[in-house]
Symmetry: C2
Subunit: 123 residues, 2 copies
Amino acid sequence: MAWQFDPDRPIYKQLRERILLKIVSGAYGAGAQLPTVRDLAEEAAVNPNTLQKALSELERDGLVHAQRTSGRFVTGDKALIKQAKNDLAKEQIDLFLKKMAAIGYNRQDAVVLIQTIEEAKPK
Amino acid sequence: MAWQFDPDRPIYKQLRERILLKIVSGAYGAGAQLPTVRDLAEEAAVNPNTLQKALSELERDGLVHAQRTSGRFVTGDKALIKQAKNDLAKEQIDLFLKKMAAIGYNRQDAVVLIQTIEEAKPK
DNA sequence: CCTATTGTGTTATTCACTTAATACAATAAC
DNA sequence: GTTATTGTATTAAGTGAATAACACAATAGG
């Protein structure tokens, strides 16, 4: 059940993003314990070092913190998580609108298309 | 005026995308001549080999074609360009909705946010 | 015919990412 | 106090992207 990665972006960035998404979406709740580096690495079918690198970044952002032998935990600061969620959403929207503009669709067009287009079929 | 690149994705992929966007948006019209590899490379402040790689992919897709000593030209097939534009838009929308879903927003939420959020300020 | 221009191919080097295989550090649990 | 568990650090090797510096191929234009 190895995770899927985009071969065109560093894996550790994608790992960071996936874990971040789990945090902001609530899949990993505030204060919850994360699986160990080794477990996560095995689940993702990735080298532990790579996962370590991803987690370091989240740690730098204050979203997770490590306790030497107990494991890693999501921050208990719900406001911080909410903030991260808002930032993430805004960033995605900006990127999306910029790209749609480059294609030739303004904001209105984009909204119409989103509502028109079919859901991508799950493979 | 070197172009800006995301350090986390191969430059040649980004070059391909930028040129593709210029084609589907009409900045490079159907049948129009592209700048030479060397000129484009200088403009982007990138190695000509890297640009070559990007253009090869567009060529493979039939969107541009090279004429040995005259230069490179955008395809005259407007239907193909339109098709590429639609595909690109659909792909962007799918990716966007997927990521928003991962953050915790469904399609309706996404639309509301798009209409709510301020335009990103040009830096 | 010559020559400049354009696309294309080759080789070498540098660098970041990733994996692998460990070793070390700290502490909770016993 | 010992031990197992967890995070952290180190070193080496392999891979692909990007750059650099060319050489070669084809042909439009004089």
